[in-house]
């Protein structure tokens, strides 16, 4: 019998980052199912399928070839079908301008990629736990902004 789990998607072109990310989740006590895509095009192809299972949280790297994170974010926000997903930007940039711009465009979470594994685990755990509260405790998602 399958247990409850949280469905998560990451789009990132860096293989190491994808690996760290999935490893971090596999070590958390929260049960999750993590799917990864290599760039924005692959991601949107998946999401736009009619029967695509949408994740609770989508993590987007900003710098990706073919279609970058910001372009994907704009597409997602233009389509009401994706309203239930929380969007987390997962980037190496910590420029204030960038951060505010992505929030204004509709991102809920901004994570500066941590350089060590333990911090990454802590950050991802915090994000998923808080997101879970938005999911289950009737909080207003429009006001969901979190920077880590």
């Amino acid at each position: 019998m399958q247990k409850e789990y949280i469905h998560i998607i990451l789009a990132d072109d860096d293989e190491d980052d994808r690996l760290f990310f999935t490893d971090a989740f596999s070590e958390l006590k929260i049960s999750t199912k993590v799917q990864t895509f290599n760039d924005g095009v692959e991601l949107m192809e998946y999401l736009n399928q009619e029967d695509a299972v949408l994740p609770q949280v989508l993590f987007l790297d900003l710098n990706m070839p073919r279609k970058n994170g910001l372009e994907a974010l704009h597409e997602i926000k233009a389509n009401p079908k994706f309203d239930s997903m929380a969007i987390a930007i997962y980037s190496t940039s910590s420029s204030e301008e960038h951060i505010e711009e992505t929030f204004v465009c509709g991102a809920n979470i901004y994570i500066k990629k941590p350089s060590d594994f333990n911090t990454l685990k802590k950050v991802l755990s915090d994000v998923v736990t808080l997101n879970w509260q938005y999911h289950t405790s009737g909080l207003n998602k429009d006001n969901f902004l979190l920077r880590m």
């Binding site: 399958q2 204004v104 207003n140 902004l145």
Partner: protein
């Protein structure tokens, strides 16, 4: 010959539920994530029958007292935070009294089920309320700090920043810009 199969349990479960529940003529809503809401009350004998049949598919109805109590804790906290005349006793005493369990028991149970603490949940709720007051009621931080029982504006700002990673004024600016964009569409 041999065929290899791959399953998507979410789809599978949903299909089975849809098929069975419609077959029994029930009005229901699959709210996702292992949750079905029945729009009408179901008599007990019928519920037992349904439970038995779903069990044969490996689907179980959780009658989990713990989960139910955690929901009560949440509801009580939300009611406390959003109330116009919040209780004068300490939150821990209020919860214990209202739910008839020791605070130690409640707080352990809460952490076990939600992966977050009662204290933390309370802070999240207070900050949510603050956000709402900033956005919808255009209240000043001083007014909000007073209303939510913070000892000072600085205390509120710090807790806001610690919880969300951004300052109240950044929050206000981002939401204002989003609304501007939405209005020009």
């Amino acid at each position: 010959m041999k065929a290899f199969l791959k399953f998507d349990f979410t789809v599978l479960t949903k299909k089975i539920l849809e098929e069975k529940l419609s077959q029994w003529g029930l009005k229901y809503l699959i709210t996702g994530f292992g949750e079905v809401e029945f729009l009408e009350d179901i008599p007990e004998d019928k519920l037992a029958e349904i439970t038995a049949i779903l069990n044969s598919y490996g689907i179980e109805i959780i009658e989990n007292q713990k989960t139910a109590l955690v929901q009560k804790i949440k509801d009580t906290i939300i009611e406390m935070v959003f109330s116009d005349s919040p209780p004068t006793v300490k939150a821990s005493a209020y919860l214990a009294d209202k739910l008839n369990h020791s605070y130690g028991y409640l707080s352990n149970l809460f952490s076990e089920v939600t992966y977050t603490s009662v204290e933390n949940f309370m802070i999240i709720q207070k900050i949510e309320y603050a956000k709402q007051l900033i956005v919808n009621d255009k209240m000043s931080l001083t007014e909000i700090a007073y209303k939510l029982n913070y000892s000072s504006v600085a205390h509120l700002s710090t807790q806001f920043k610690n919880t969300t990673g951004i300052t109240p004024s950044q929050f206000q600016r981002i939401i204002a810009k989003r609304r501007e964009i939405a209005n020009t569409k």
